[in-house]
């Protein structure tokens, strides 16, 4: 490996490293605008100039490969002068409107101008004017601020895989734009806001609402999909102002999806902030005691076999644990956390998690996607698949709906017939999986929520074991969930007990009059019209489907308002933290259930979250290992039932409308309207 001396410090670096990387390794800080370690190298901002001995001119370190014996200086007077020159050129056409710019306070140009800017202007001409571009409802543009680093263009083209941004014109007339100013369609477009080193691309919904130094930053976990992306929630007072990504190489690298980033306006609208009880067919505001008494009355007159509980997609493990304990103490066995009716969770843990882990996608050399559209179900995970595809030698086969996943795929077929051909080896793609060193299967909920879901699952597991997808040292059998609460619920065993009903059974029972009381813990994704005449208790955050049907509403806390455990699709346990308090009388969910248990006379044996977690860890020990992957055995696929020939249909139809918070968000509604607008001439100003 080449040895490089940076400012007198000798470091040994990778042969493929650049001078900039060598400098970083030696601890020298290099200013930059265009260089980004997750994007291709452009080398066009020239801010990273360094002096290399025996080189005639200053060298752009980001684009210069290292050589053995290179001697680099980053702190000399010549380097400083060179960078000052670059900065002066950059500022010639930059408007210097920091006081009215949303990037102010977190702007790379502002920060670096402190180090390399000069205090006067030698340029007497007019600055150039650039028309602002309309990029849709998420990104606000002020193109006079653009310094043409092209990070946004490279991100949209390389990472998101939807090449819609480009730089037209040349020289002074270069402009960043979408093709004919159509709105961007990528589900990851919000990341260009973070990438933009200046205030050219800023967040439209967040525009002019806060300054970064006023915000309280809380590092927490996202629940919009089952990835558990690491996020930072910025809040001011009780209000969540924005959501930003955090770096976690194993999960989301440093990207988040647009739903994760722009969901926050949904946290402020349609909120349940007081308990309600239904009287004479109308909901009225009530006190907590009234609400609890009403439930207690109903529970007292109902036998356990006529009660049921469904946990929703955004529930934390603690509240599911409290609800489960409460239900078990009442003798209720009709429990389910699988709102979508997926036929999983009854076999071992390995049959329902993303066993390899998200990071291991970069080790796979063949991929079979069954009944899933990862682009909509987990956009950031899809970007990881794309990343692996761009490295080459990564054939991807798809069984299910043929969708544009942002990378080319072999479309194999629509349903179980094709799956059977893969399993018996008669399909050409079976050969691809056989010869692969680390083959991977991603099963979506589209393949598991069917009547024959169990048969599809066990057949696929059996195939995975025979085809080397599951073998010593490699487990590429992966289930991709769509709900943040799902794996936690399954780990906890929030499932039908003996002779208990599952979600479908509960709905059937309720509409047939066999169930008298249904407890919904944030469950809004079910067909509430099938709840019949049952007495419905809804505990949740938003006035959505469940609350509209409820007889008693208990206002809970959203994911940014409580500390809670979430298990992502990999089975990785992560803890969300409270960024703001719940509105009005709303309380943390476990505490509501604990209080309710006292009214019902079945006091839960924990008085604090700490006690609850202790009980939880005792019951499910692996939940105590935070932020780590624990390997799980995949049980033998015992063939149960036969597979129907109906094609797989994907779990997510409308990416922007998958949960109650998203449905309360105006920004998400705008995005959904735009995405559903078949008229390709839509410009983003619609809605």
């Amino acid at each position: 490996m080449p040895k490089v001396t940076v400012d007198g410090i000798e470091v040994e670096v990778d042969a493929s490293a650049t001078v900039l990387q060598a400098c970083e390794q030696a601890g020298a800080e290099i200013p930059r605008f265009c260089y980004h370690e997750r994007l291709s190298i452009a080398g066009n901002c020239r801010m990273c100039l360094v002096e290399v001995e025996r080189a005639p001119k200053p060298v752009a370190s980001c684009a210069q490969p290292v050589n053995d014996g290179m001697v680099v200086h980053t702190k000399t007077e010549a380097v400083k002068r060179a960078r000052e020159g670059v900065m002066e050129f950059l500022l010639i056409n930059h408007p210097l409107d920091c006081p009215i710019c949303d990037q102010g306070g977190e702007c790379d140009l502002q920060d670096q101008a402190m180090g390399y800017g000069i205090d006067s202007n030698r340029y007497g001409e007019n600055k150039r004017a650039v028309e602002d571009k309309d990029m849709g409802p998420l990104i606000s543009t002020t193109m006079t601020r653009c310094i043409h680093c092209t990070r946004c263009v490279r991100f949209i083209t390389e990472v998101s895989g939807v090449p819609e941004l480009g730089a037209t014109g040349r020289g002074e007339d270069m402009e960043i734009t979408t093709y004919l100013e159509k709105a961007l369609s990528s589900e990851l477009q919000g990341n260009v806001i973070d990438l933009c080193p200046v205030g050219a691309l800023t967040s439209k919904p967040y525009a002019f609402t806060a300054r970064p130094w006023e915000l309280k930053k809380t590092e927490t976990i996202d629940v919009m999909d089952a990835m558990g992306s690491n996020i930072r929630v910025d809040s001011r007072g009780r209000e969540v102002m924005r959501v930003m990504p955090r770096v976690n190489e194993a999960i989301n690298e440093e990207w988040i999806s647009d739903k994760t980033r722009f969901i926050w306006d949904g946290l402020k609208t349609q909120r349940l902030d007081r308990p309600y009880v239904r009287e004479d067919g109308k909901l009225r505001v009530a006190t907590w005691d009234e609400a609890f008494e009403k439930i207690a009355e109903k529970v007292a007159s109902t036998t356990p076999d006529k009660m049921a509980a469904i946990a929703g997609d955004l529930a934390d493990v603690e509240s599911m644990k409290a609800l489960k304990d409460l239900m078990v103490s009442l003798g209720v066995t009709n429990l389910d956390c699988r709102q979508d009716g997926a036929k999983i969770g009854t076999a071992g843990r390995g049959s329902y998690i993303f066993n390899s882990g998200i990071e291991a996608i970069e080790e796979a050399d063949a991929l079979l996607v069954i009944g899933s559209n990862p682009r909509l179900e987990a956009p950031v995970l899809n970007a990881r698949i794309r990343k692996q595809w761009t490295k080459g030698g990564f054939p991807i086969g798809v069984i299910g709906e043929d969708a544009d996943l942002t990378y080319p795929t072999d479309y194999l077929g629509a349903g179980t017939d094709t799956l059977k051909q893969i399993i018996d080896g008669s399909h050409p793609f079976a050969r691809v999986m056989d010869v692969a060193e680390n083959p991977m299967i991603i099963m979506g909920q589209g393949a598991l929520t069917r009547e024959d879901g169990e048969a599809v699952l066990s057949a696929t597991i059996a195939y995975a074991k025979s085809a080397g997808v599951i073998k010593d040292g490699w487990n590429g059998f992966n289930v991709l969930h769509t709900a943040a609460a799902r794996v936690g619920g399954l780990d906890l065993g929030f499932l039908p007990g003996e002779e208990g009903r599952d979600t479908q059974g509960i709905l059937d029972g309720a509409s047939a009059g066999a169930l008298d009381l249904v407890f919904l813990l944030g469950a809004d994704e079910i067909e509430t019209k099938y709840l019949g005449n049952a007495f419905v208790v809804y505990q949740g955050t938003h006035g959505d489907a469940g609350a509209h049907r409820a007889d008693v509403i208990l206002p809970g806390a959203a994911y940014t308002e409580k500390s809670g455990l979430y298990v992502n699709t990999e089975g990785r346990v992560q803890m969300a933290k409270r960024a703001a308090f719940p509105p009005g009388d709303a309380r943390e969910d476990w505490a509501i259930l604990r209080a309710l248990s006292a009214t019902l006379g079945k006091v839960l044996p924990y008085d604090s979250l700490r006690d609850l977690r202790a009980a939880l860890y005792e019951e499910v020990p692996h939940l105590a290992t935070l932020d780590e992957l624990t390997s799980a055995d995949v049980p033998e696929g015992a063939a149960t039932g036969t597979m129907a020939a109906t094609p797989f249909s994907n779990a997510i139809k409308d990416f922007y409308m998958t949960n109650p918070i998203a449905r309360a968000s105006k920004v998400m509604a705008d995005c959904a309207a735009l995405a559903n607008d078949t008229d390709k001439g839509a410009t983003g100003t619609h809605g």
């Binding site: 083209t157 090449p163 819609e164 941004l165 480009g166 730089a167 037209t168 014109g169 040349r170 020289g171 002074e172 007339d173 402009e175 734009t177 979408t178 093709y179 004919l180």
Partner: protein
């Protein structure tokens, strides 16, 4: 140079002629499989030859043919000033206004253009002529000069240039090259250097 945008008035569609489709296929075959985007500049050029300018439908047709994102083709089309993004006249005059031509009277030629054609970058009412000022076309020894479609017209004066424009408009034949009696870029009048004969012993 100025900001280059697609024309506000665009045709509904664009289609290559059958010959041009054949030609395009040959261009695309020059490059290895998956690298067809390399043919984008020749294809845009051919579209311009066919229509006189590059329209939005043409950009989209070429993007489809080459498997490129539309924005990538738009980037190329707006980068190179040789691509006309607005319609041009049947006879498209590119007038050199760079220093040598300017010193030799390019301003007079501009006046002729204004008088006989109209404002720059607008097509004359009869659709026959349009003109624009360009930078050096590399024929400085025959300054001032213009390029009309594929040919250079050199050693121009206001009079003979006006005549050329009117001849073109009327469909009469015109002679490309120097408009005086000199050949190519040989000296005007007699030789002023290299006047002594060269013998076997060398120059005297």
């Amino acid at each position: 140079m100025s900001v280059r945008r697609l024309d506000a008035n665009q045709p509904d569609s664009f289609e290559f002629t059958p010959e041009n489709i054949e030609w395009s296929k040959k261009q695309m075959e020059k490059y290895p499989e998956g690298r067809q985007a390399s043919a984008v500049i020749p294809m845009l050029w051919q579209a311009q030859k066919q229509e006189g300018w590059v329209s939005e439908p043409a950009i989209e047709v070429i993007a489809d043919m080459l498997g490129m994102a539309k924005i990538r083709v738009l980037e190329v089309a707006t980068f190179y000033t040789m691509f006309n993004l607005s319609p041009v006249g049947k006879h498209f005059v590119q007038l050199c206004g760079t220093t040598p031509c300017w010193l030799r009277g390019a301003d007079d030629l501009k006046d002729v253009c204004r008088k006989h054609i109209g404002d720059p970058n607008t097509v004359s009412d009869d659709g026959q002529l349009s003109w624009m000022e360009v930078e050096c076309l590399g024929a400085c020894s025959n300054a001032p000069m213009v390029q009309i479609n594929d040919d250079y017209y050199e050693d121009l004066t206001a009079e003979n240039f006006a005549q050329i424009l009117e001849d073109l408009r009327a469909g009469r034949e015109v002679k490309p090259g120097p408009q005086t009696d000199r050949k190519g870029s040989e000296p005007l009048g007699t030789l002023t250097s290299l006047t002594t004969p060269i013998t076997a012993e060398g120059a005297e």
